[in-house]
Amino acid sequence: MDWIVQASTFAADVDFAINVIYVLVGFWFFLTFGIFLWLVIAHRAKPGQKAEYLTGDEREPKKFISRAHMLVLVCDVAIVVAAVQVWVQVKQTLPTAPETQTVRIVSQQWAWSFVHPGADGQLDTADDIKTVDELHIELDRPYIYELTSRDVLHDFSVPAFRLKQDSIPGRVITGWFQATVAGIHEIQCAEMCGIGHGLMPGKVVVETPEEHAAWMQSKSGGAMLASASR
């Protein structure tokens, strides 16, 4: 099921792990719920008929419970494998390809500031491009982000990328993404950050290399330095 667009290289993998859970958990849910409803309907009180005295210490009926919960354990193992695999991919690996770019993301009450490398491809040089609430990236190019916060906890969440990471003041957290669908994808803050928490939408603008170059061109010369605060 793709409920929302899969706009990063790992989006489909996250969705796959989710779907594994949907299938396994759905099976157990409908089975258990079905048996539950059937028992309630089938064993309604009938006049003159006593319930059966089953304490649950009998071996035969107990088998159903113990075998079922072994099967639950097997499903758990499958889910752990699926979850861990995608977690390692998203959170514990960083791209090493030479074209990888680094961007800096700074959260604050209540805005996102982004620092993009300029034409030299390096951060902290004179041609860095700073923006507010708009991150411009190139399609199909791996990016490493360095995420930090100026004040309280925020969370950089791009649902279309299946990416989410808290930002913490005093700490720089790195992660990565690689966009696969051009266009605008929304950023939501996913950690309560004060009065303006609901009012800090940002955008990731995914551009083709040509569009991105044109955008860099329009920003060059340090014409637009983002103001730090609103």
């Binding site: 996250v14 309630v40 649950g56 758990d76 977690w87 906890l153 003041p169 996913a190 004060g194």
Partner: protein, 575 residues
């Protein structure tokens, strides 16, 4: 020690004479049943406040910017405060006092066959501190800057620094209220554990104790073992707020993530603290109304202990994306999924209890069954969130919100109604009206599902929590996402269902009111032909509970025994 000190000494008849004075009888009582009523009434009053908050913010979400009747226009600051305090109230001032304190106080002495709690004065103090905590919390809504709005999890630095949260008084009062509430429940827990372990009727072995009592005892132990770190954390937070210390402030060498560990080390076992009493009520109710012994009593008990211990090892699944070492996520994914085994076992055992039963669908039975059905949804949706990879997407979305409402609503609301309707005859001596009870049940259950099922869909579509208005997000205003409805339509649907659910609560209060009339149908001591000791005491039980303290001869769930004509075999009957 075990002798109760009781302020009511003159009457067994429960005519509400004023001879002791209002304050002494209703506010200064040491009788466990009166303290239970105090907790119950305070809990219901807080539930009305928490429910009103839900109504206000749901109206804002469905109709952004509209003037909400009885409230007015909702500002972003008010919105944050409403969601924060809705969560805080429903967990700490509704689920805890009603499920543990009210039912624990009322039921433990009655179910184990003694005349009062072991420490009646500590019990009284427990309620008084609880009442104080409720007053502090409600007071915090009216101070300068308004109530705290930094989410019920109160993550610093937002909660610690008033320049960030802009509620200097509200934030401090919120933490103080929560800390006081913890002290109240520590005092209550001492009583529950000690009484259940030491004051049981002669003959009542550990395996004869009714599940409700066991569950409240285990819940109290879990609470005691988990709350210490959070009380320490709360004091550190108060110091950060008022004395400018920097426990959680990175600029002063502190660490904001430390709070999250302290909070969730408590916060996750807390889920089980409130879950267990509701599971206990359900065990007592489904056995009575299916006339079956509880399937595998000992297994249930061991499962409860196992769940309790495991619940201390899963806390960081709330923090997968909070900046903890990503390798830690593997450990917490494994422990979290492991806990699905005992919980699934518990569900299976309860369902197996129904097998070959003789089921009557009374109102309390419907609530008990609904608990099983709805909690099942809450349980299975938790797997998505306990698995690290999928949680990258789901964390902090409405999927999480829908998931924990499918656990907390069955626990706090369905569990409370199950307990109330089941033990109402014992509490008041009067039977509730079954027709009104069933109207209330179906009205509540159907509207509950209509509120929260759409929220799973919104979460799956990437909608995050605690956002004042979604109008600024194009991706969250999509049309035609489910059965022709757009995302905003789903929000409206949830809000309308909430209004309907609130409306149906009138039926419950009407039912309560009707039972308090003289001519309501008298319950007698044992209206359900149940086995546990509370059904030996008169309804309502007078001072000292039992005319003569009972002796116990068998387990709590001897229904439909083959050697016996009757389909029940009370614990107190010799043969």
């Amino acid at each position: 020690m075990a002798t109760a000190e009781v302020t009511h000494d003159s009457h067994d008849d429960h005519g509400h004479h004023e001879d002791e004075g209002f304050i002494k009888k209703y506010l200064w009582s040491t009788d466990h049943k009166m303290i239970a009523m105090q907790y119950l009434v305070t809990g219901i009053a807080m539930a009305i406040i928490g429910g009103f908050f839900a109504y206000v913010f749901r109206m804002q979400l469905a109709f952004p910017g509209v003037e909400v009747p009885l409230f007015g226009i909702v500002s972003p600051a008010q919105y944050n405060s409403l969601v924060t305090n809705h969560g805080t109230i429903m967990i700490f001032w509704v689920a805890m006092p009603v499920l543990i304190a009210a039912f624990g106080n009322f039921l433990i002495p009655l179910m184990i066959g003694c005349d009062d709690m072991v420490f009646p004065k500590i019990n009284r103090l427990s309620y008084q501190i609880f009442l104080l905590s409720a007053i502090v919390l409600v007071g915090s809504f009216f101070v300068e800057g308004g109530g705290f709005g930094g989410a019920w999890t109160a993550y610093p630095p937002l909660s610690a620094v008033s320049e960030y949260n802009l509620t200097p008084m509200g934030a401090t009062l919120w933490v103080v209220a929560v800390a006081l509430e913890f002290i109240a429940f520590l005092l209550g827990g001492i009583n529950f554990i000690t009484t259940a372990m030491n004051s049981r009727a002669p003959g009542m072995r550990l395996y004869d104790i009714p599940m409700t009592v066991w569950m409240i005892v285990v819940a109290s132990i879990l609470f005691m073992a988990s709350v210490g770190p959070l009380i320490a954390g709360a004091i550190m937070l108060i110091f950060d707020q008022t004395l400018n210390t920097g426990f959680f402030d990175p600029n002063k060498g502190g660490d904001p993530v430390l709070w999250q560990h302290l909070f969730w080390f408590f916060g996750h076992p807390e889920v089980y603290v409130v879950l267990l009493p509701a599971l206990g009520f359900t065990a007592d109710i489904i056995t009575t109304f299916s006339r079956k012994p509880l399937f595998a009593y000992r297994t249930v008990l061991y499962t409860v202990f196992g769940t309790g211990i495991l619940s201390f090892t899963v806390w960081a699944h709330h923090q997968f994306i909070s900046g903890i070492d990503p390798r830690m996520a593997h450990i917490f994914t494994i422990t979290t999924l492991l806990i699905s085994v005992p919980i699934a076992e518990m569900m299976f055992v309860y369902i197996a209890t129904l097998y070959k039963g003789s089921i009557t669908l009374t109102t309390p039975m419907l609530w008990g069954l609904a608990f099983i059905g709805e909690f099942l949804i809450g349980g299975v949706t938790g797997i998505f969130l306990g698995a690290s990879g999928p949680d990258i997407f789901f964390h902090d979305t409405y999927f999480v919100l829908a998931h924990f409402h499918y656990t907390f609503f069955p626990i706090a609301i369905i569990g409370s109604f199950a307990g109330l309707t089941y033990w109402w005859p014992k509490m008041t001596g009067k039977m509730m009206n079954e027709t009104l009870g069933k109207i209330h049940f179906w009205g509540t259950i159907i509207s509950f599902n209509v509120i929260f099922l759409p929220l799973f869909v919104l979460g799956q579509l990437g909608q995050h929590r605690r956002i004042y208005s979604y109008e600024g997000f194009g991706e969250l205003m999509r049309e035609d996402v489910l059965l022709g409805m757009g995302m905003q339509d789903l929000r409206v649907l949830a809000t309308v269902a909430l209004l309907i659910m609130i409306g149906f609560q009138v039926v419950f209060f009407l039912n309560v009111f009707l039972t308090l009339r003289k001519k309501a149908y008298d319950a007698g001591p044992n209206p359900y032909n149940a086995n546990t000791l509370e059904w030996l005491a008169p309804s309502p039980p007078g001072h000292g509970n039992f005319a003569e303290l009972p002796t116990v001869y068998r387990g709590a769930y001897e229904f439909s025994h083959p050697d016996r004509e009757l389909d029940y075999w009370p614990q107190w009957e010799k043969d």
